[in-house]
Every structure is written in structure tokens, then in C-alpha cells.
């Protein structure tokens, strides 16, 4: 669906709601990214359900706000009995549930995941107007902008270091990703982008060493979690490469979901410039 068509759809739904004289009161969100924004935008009385992931602090920054809100696992069968008056979700996730809910005449809006900071603002505005809280959306955007300004002033004048985000399985983010913008906004050059990785890619430990980044950005450890994938980020060779310095750690839930939390990730990275 083109952006224009989507706006038209949002406009129709919001205007029909305006005609009903009310904002949506029983909103269901189908993905972690829309969950978190929804929790920032509207009071919890108006949220009928969020995903299970939103209640887990490993993945969700807003997990505390989910207390008292029912959690679902994405099955249409769980969502229909909630009699939602608006369902929001990310494009490409839960597509079976989305098409079933649409067949059952539920109003479902899906949104593209933002890949730039500008798109994050658009994404926030679109969801803000869909749920009838455009002012709250503008407040969120203003906070974002002030956090980014603060981050930029912290790193102003410092030499540009070469950084790479390194996640389990050697997963890293290159060009055309929000993570790339986050890393650059915090005053780093993104090694993955310079190595020619488009979107996301995997980099072996030997390749990472050979490329010699100054800074390795890893997510904070999840407690009591272990897997072979996670052993990439604690490989002894990484520590040996960094020498005296330690890897830069930021909470995974800041940038797992592309959204307004990106500003917190930028600020956290800027504050850790060594």
C-alpha cells in the first residue's frame, strides 16, 4: 500500500471515529513495535491487548506500563473476543492473523517499520493520529529531538571512531537501517556500512577482527540466557581486540524495535564515548 493510500485509510478511519464522536477505546496491537508506541501514546484503559513480548523487559522498554493489560500471542482467535475497535500492527508480521481479522471486518492498520530517523517521526505521527492522540505524538517527537540534540552536543568536536554493532550470530546492521543512523548520529562511522553491508548481515569473528573497529557495540546481556548465538558477543578475541577498553553496551530494548526509542539509543551511545 502506498503512503498516500495509507494516509487516506487512516483519514477515513479517524474521520469515521470523529463522526462517532469518540477516539478508539479498545485498541489491540499486533507487534512489539506498535505495542511500545501505543503504550506511550494512550492511557492503558483504552488498550485491549498487547503482545506477550511487550511484557518482557528483555525486549520491551515499556514493559512496566503493560501491567493490567491483557497480553496475546498473535492468534486471531484470541483477538476477536476482545471486540477491538482498532487493530494496529507492523507490515509483514502476523500476516495470517491480519488477513483473517480483515475478513472478519475488523479495522486493521499496518505500518512500515521506519528505517530513518525522519521515518520514525512519520511513524509516530501516523499512529498518533490513528489512535486519536496527535498532540501526544508531537510531544514524543519533541522529546526525541531534544535527546538527539543533547547527544550531538556531547560528541561535537570528537574524532569520528569506527564502530560496529555486533549481535548474537555475528548479526550487524549496515546501510539503509535505523541502527546505521543511530550509530552515525552518535558520532561514529559504521564499519558494517563501510564494509558494504546493505540492510542486515552477518560478520564472522575473524572478519570483525580483521576490519579492526575502534568500538564494538553489543546489547546488554540477557540474564540467565545462554546459546551458541550469544557466544559470538562474548568471544575472548573481541576483548583482546579492544584491549583495555570495554565493549559499549546498550540495553537491547532501546533499538530492537525501530521507533522513537532510537533517540535513547543515540544518547546512550553518545554518553559512552570513551
Amino acid at each position: 500500500m502506498s503512503t498516500g493510500l495509507r494516509f487516506l485509510l487512516i483519514a477515513t478511519i479517524t474521520s469515521s471515529l470523529a463522526w462517532a464522536g469518540d477516539k478508539p477505546q479498545r485498541i489491540v496491537s499486533l507487534s512489539l513495535c506498535t505495542d511500545q508506541l501505543l503504550l506511550m501514546l494512550v492511557d492503558k484503559e483504552r488498550i485491549a491487548a498487547v503482545t506477550h513480548l511487550a511484557t518482557d523487559n528483555n525486549y520491551s522498554y515499556m514493559w512496566k506500563a503493560t501491567r493490567g493489560i491483557p497480553a496475546h500471542s498473535g492468534l486471531a482467535e484470541e483477538i476477536v473476543p476482545l471486540t477491538p475497535d482498532l487493530i494496529i500492527g507492523s507490515r509483514y508480521s502476523n500476516s495470517n492473523s491480519v488477513s483473517m481479522l480483515r475478513r472478519l471486518n475488523h479495522p486493521v492498520l499496518t505500518f512500515d517499520s521506519p528505517t530513518t530517523l525522519l521515518q520514525v517521526e512519520q511513524f509516530t505521527r501516523e499512529i498518533g493520529s490513528a489512535v486519536g492522540e496527535p498532540e501526544r505524538a508531537e510531544q514524543i517527537i519533541a522529546t526525541m529531538q531534544s535527546e538527539i540534540t543533547k547527544a550531538k552536543s556531547l560528541v561535537a568536536g570528537k574524532t569520528e571512531l569506527l564502530a560496529i554493532s555486533y549481535a548474537p550470530n555475528g548479526f550487524t546492521a549496515g546501510k539503509h537501517t535505523l541502527k546505521n543512523e543511530i550509530i552515525e548520529a552518535a558520532g561514529y562511522r559504521n564499519l558494517a556500512a563501510e564494509l558494504g553491508i546493505e540492510y542486515y548481515g552477518n560478520l564472522g569473528i575473524e572478519q570483525l577482527l580483521y576490519a579492526r573497529p575502534d568500538v564494538i557495540i553489543v546489547d546488554e546481556d540477557l540474564p540467565n540466557q545462554n546459546s551458541l548465538a550469544q557466544q559470538f558477543t562474548v568471544h575472548p578475541a573481541l576483548q583482546r581486540l579492544l584491549g583495555e577498553r570495554s565493549p559499549t553496551r546498550i540495553p537491547g530494548n532501546y533499538w530492537l524495535c525501530p521507533g522513537p526509542l532510537a533517540a535513547k539509543a543515540i544518547l546512550a551511545l553518545a554518553e559512552q564515548r570513551q
Binding site: E206, L209, A229, Q231, P236, A237
Partner: protein, 330 residues
Amino acid sequence: MNSSIALNSLLLVITLALVVVALHIGPADIDLTVAIADSWQGNNSLQAMIFSEIRLPRSLLAATVGATLGMAGAALQGLLRNPLAGPGLVGVSTCAALGAIIALYFGFSAIAWFAVPIFGMIGAGISVLLIFALAGHNSSIMTLILAGVAVNAVASSLISLALNFAPNPYAMSEMVYWLLGSIANRSFADFSLAIPFMISGWLLILNSGRFLNALSLGEDTAQSLGFNLKLHRSLLIIGVALSVGAAVSVSGNIGFVGLLIPHLLRPLVGHEPGRLLAASGFGGAILVLLADITVQLVSPTQELKLGVITALVGGPFFLYLIIKTRNTLQ
């Protein structure tokens, strides 16, 4: 005896040569002589880092894991007096993987650093006992294979079950690793964790050479030669469990090595099960080193799993063995 020393020396030379070849292979372009010199002098250069933190542990793991699987195959074939026994086919590797999986994904490895190999060894031990109970020590080939199929089936579904319920987002995707095996991205920490157990297992297995020679003449003969069957069998089983459990816990389940290698080498050692043990150790090391060199050359970016290569070689060989022994099966 002299021919045995000659054979083992030859195999040792091939193993060492392959270790050197394996050290040269990797995505980064480094000068190995510089890397070794830097490591030796304690220089923290990039070359030294890649050599000592990444390539050396990987090559050493390929050699020692392979040696374990080859030796365990020879030991099981001698112990069960059955040419189709091997740690993969009778389910020892799968059960070891199950143990390691439970330790890794359910938080036991966070409590005790040695939990993964210990659980692997317990898994391997249980499976050898199960095979013994199901197929007995005088079983037909058919009974052994069927018992192995059953143990493997149960253990691999328990692996799926455990990975499904593991409280970790990466667990399910790592099933391929556990079922097919790989030693990519392993560090010295993994190697030093597994090596003491592997060596203890090897010593127990190698020490049973004379017992296996006697056993090949029949249980009564072995007993009359003064071997305590129960004691020697137990020692051998413990040896297999220790070494295979530790090896699988750092490499996953690399199939067919333990079946293939003893068969290839048996004619060269004059069909003596005792002399086959050490030779199969070297043979296994050679096969896994070759497989690991192959996966790195064939697909450097998205690495194949080792089990794919060993199964491509071992699978047809297994079919050949079945055809050859078909008369015994009927």
C-alpha cells in the same frame, strides 16, 4: 607391532600436516609465520590474535573431536563385536547433544562452567547403557541397528522438545548445529573445557586394547584369559561416554566418523581390534580436519555444517556396508 608404529606415525604426520593446512584457511588474509612469531613473542598483533584466538582452537578442536569419534567408533565396534556400531548410529552422539542442550539453554551452564560437557557425558553414558540393555553384548546386527534407530529417534525428538521450550530466542535455530555439528567460532575456552575429558576417555579406551583383542575371540575365551568382563566393559563404556560426551558438547553431532574410519583402517591393522584404536583416533582426526577445511573452502560466508560433509561421504559407505553384510542380516 613395528608395522603398527609405522602406520600410526604416518597417520600422525598426515594429521599434523592437515592442522597446518587448516591454520592457513580463513576469511582474513594473514601471514601465518608472522602470526606464529608474534604469538610466540607475546605481540598483540592482529595476525597473532586471529591465529591464537580463532584458528588454533578451531584446528585443535577438529583434530581432537575427530580423534574422539574415530576411537569411540573402533571401541564400540570391538565392544559390541558388531561392524555397524558407531557413536552416531547407536545414538551416543545424539544423547550427548541432548545433555549438552539441557545444560546450555536451561541455565545450568551459568551456574557451573563445566555443566555443558558434564551433561553431555551423562547423556552419552545413558545411551551406551541403553544400547547394551536393548541389544545385549552378543546381538545380531539387526537388533543393534534397530536399537540405535530407537535411541536416536527418542533423543532427537527430545532435542526438538528441549529447544522448543528453551527460554531463549536463538535455541530453535541452533537445532541444525546440534544435529549436524560445527566447530566454527569456537574459542580456547571451549577447547580447554573439553580436552581434559577427551584425553581421559582416550586413555581408558586405549588401555582396553588387549581386552578387545581377547573379546574378539569370544567372551569365554576373554574370561579364561583372565579378563574381568564386567570391569573392562565398564571402563570402556566410561571412556566412550567421557570422550564422546565432551566432544559433542563443543561440536554438536558430527555423524559417520566413528563408523567409517574403523572400517577403512581395519585391513591395515590386521583386523586386531586393539591395534585399531589408536589408528582410528588419527583417522578420525584426519577426516574431521578434511571436512572442516572443505566447509571453509566451499562456502566461506554461510558455512556448511560438518555433518553435511561427513554424511555425504559416510552415507554411501554405510549403504555399501549394508549390501556387503546383507547375508548376515537375513
